[in-house]
């Protein structure tokens, strides 16, 4: 095999690997958007909290790094539910004229708050959690670090569990019904407001999983969630707001475009390539690839 082709394949693989983890982020955002009809501007900070939770769990407490991912998800799920109960209940109390604006301002404020609240605790310096495994695996065309490979496989597993749960469990079916038509779901006897903390908790736990999975390879610091969150938002726009399929396909595309841009153009603009593609897709198809307001 020529050196050029194997180089291309190795970048492609690394794009798919990172794309899977973007997918987790975007799927979490999609669940929250679909059920609550809000964009969570603090999504990146839940990713950051997931990274710190994995760091504390694996480095400070010496818990198995793979188990630390579950710890991070559990901790952030609880934080997510508390945040929803504490800050987002006015959204559906019927007292706001413009709940969308409230959600935007509240989650934006929360984002800044969370970024700053971790500085006195962990300091401004970059941390890294324990690797998920040592060494690399030879995938034939390309050597991949075991930690990254495991991270990617775990995110595929988590996305699969989430999608199957949405299709097959009572909670999942209820969440899909609410995303499709909130009033009709209420009239069918679903306590729609009690499903909001579930959706927010699950969505933020997904962000935390992404943060925890990338914490060994990328660095964790107070503002590390901002770029991850802007990518997740861009993926939602690319895939079509509210579509789970769109979130996953969009995330893979973004990962691959970034990797290929680094290979063929220049690595310095890594974060630019994906957004460039998104701008192009939106110019051609403004509803995104799978334009939909429902989970489908």
């Amino acid at each position: 095999m020529s050196a050029g082709l194997s180089m291309f394949l190795s970048y492609l693989v690394s794009g798919v690997i990172i794309g899977n983890i973007y997918g987790l982020m975007a799927l979490g955002l999609t669940i929250i958007l679909g059920v609550m009809k809000i964009v969570n501007f603090a999504h990146g900070e839940f990713y950051m909290l997931g990274g710190y939770a994995a760091y504390v769990s694996s480095i400070k407490l010496g818990i198995d790094p793979r188990l630390s991912i579950l710890v991070a998800m559990g901790v952030v799920f609880i934080i997510g539910v508390i945040v929803e109960r504490g800050l987002l209940t006015p959204l559906y109390a019927g007292k706001l004229d413009r709940p969308g604006d409230y959600a935007l301002l509240m989650t934006f404020a929360l984002s800044v708050f969370l970024m700053n609240v971790v500085i006195p605790i962990f300091g401004p310096y970059q941390k890294s959690s324990a690797p998920l495994a040592e060494g690399s695996v030879n995938l034939g065309v390309v050597m991949v670090g075991k930690t990254r490979l495991i991270a990617s496989l775990v995110s595929i597993l988590l996305m699969a569990i989430l999608l199957v749960a949405l299709k097959k469990t009572r909670l999942g079916i209820a969440l899909r019904a609410i995303a499709a038509d909130r009033d009709a779901a209420a009239v069918c006897g679903i306590d729609v407001n009690r499903m909001n903390p579930a959706a927010f908790g699950i969505g933020t736990a997904m962000a935390a999983a992404a943060g925890a999975l990338l914490a060994p390879s990328f660095l964790v610091y107070p503002a590390c969630g901002t770029i991850a969150a802007s990518k997740a938002n861009a993926i939602l726009v690319l895939g079509g707001m509210g579509s789970t399929k769109g979130a996953i396909v969009g995330a893979l595309l973004l990962g691959v475009f970034e990797a290929l841009g680094v290979l063929f153009l220049t690595p310095g603009y890594r974060d630019v390539y994906g957004f460039l593609v998104i701008v192009l897709v939106l110019l051609i198809k403004p509803t995104g690839l799978f334009g939909s307001q429902e989970f489908s």
């Binding site: 539910v81 749960a165 097959k168 469990t169 009572r170 909670l171 079916i173 209820a174 899909r176 019904a177 499709a180 038509d181 009033d183 009709a184 779901a185 209420a186 009239v187 069918c188 006897g189 679903i190 306590d191 729609v192 407001n193 009690r194 903390p197 579930a198 908790g201 939909s292 429902e294 989970f295 489908s296």
Partner: protein, 253 residues
């Protein structure tokens, strides 16, 4: 025996008195039609009964219990189910899952029980599927269980919506224009289904514009105009009433 009694219900939207001292009673085994020109407040009354909007005053009594102020899901749990004027199915879900959503209402819910029961879900899910299929049998669509709701013809979508309402623990059923947009065959099938539902001892309150349907199947008719009841009685009685003719056709010259 179920009695749905609506007493003195009023609702204003800003300066518009949408519903003004509205009263009527539906009992099980009876079809009670609610008719009136567009904008008379019929759909508003359904929304008030279901708790989607709150009345300014009045009571909605189901077997003597006042439901006003309860959230919609609790009203459904007490025994009031409904369909919508423009079909509001969960379009991207299967017909069966649409009904499973309604069957959900009779079960404990919330995050913790739902997650805790996730492991046992497969068996209880099978149970729910069987129940959903039984309900589909009533509306004559058992063969459509697997289809996506959005792929069904309009008439069948309306029947699925009726099935979804029957999936709720319904004692009283509110049907908002069940035959609108249907061809004559579909319309007749729908009426037969509604009859079958009535015979199961469910109280039915029906909004309908198709007078043939109203005259054929209703036992009692209440006529509304501008938010107020202008006449109530048997179908024969109301179609001879002066005020009803006036509301529909205008004053005699």
């Amino acid at each position: 025996m179920t009695t749905l009694e609506i007493k003195d219900l009023s609702k204003a939207f800003g300066g518009l008195q949408a519903v003004h001292h509205f009263s009527c009673t539906a009992v099980s085994g009876q079809i009670h039609a609610l008719i009136g020109p567009n904008g008379a407040g019929k759909s508003t009354i359904f929304n008030l009964i279901c708790g989607v909007i709150k009345p300014d005053s009045g009571q909605v009594l189901l077997d003597g219990e006042d439901l006003v102020g309860l959230p919609p899901h609790k009203i459904t749990a007490r025994g009031i189910a409904r369909t919508f004027q423009n079909v509001r199915l969960f379009k991207n879900m299967s017909v069966r899952d649409n009904i499973v959503v309604a069957l959900h209402a009779t079960r404990n819910q919330g995050i913790i029980p739902a997650i805790a029961s996730a492991g046992r879900d497969s068996s209880s899910m099978r149970e729910l599927h069987n129940k959903a299929d039984a309900v589909l049998e009533i509306v004559g669509l058992p063969h459509r269980a697997e289809a996506l709701a959005k792929n069904l013809p309009y008439g069948e979508q309306k029947r699925v919506e009726l099935a979804r309402a029957l999936g709720c623990p319904a004692k009283a059923l509110l049907l908002d224009e069940p035959t609108t947009g249907m061809n004559p065959t579909e319309s007749v099938e729908m009426m037969q289904t509604i009859h079958a539902v009535k015979d199961r001892g469910i109280a039915i309150l029906l909004v309908e514009h198709n007078m043939r349907v109203v005259m054929d199947i209703s036992d009692v008719v209440t006529v509304m105009s501008f938010g107020e009841v202008i006449c109530a009685g048997t179908p024969q009685h109301v179609c001879q009433d002066e005020k009803v003719i006036e509301a529909y056709l205008g004053e005699k010259r």
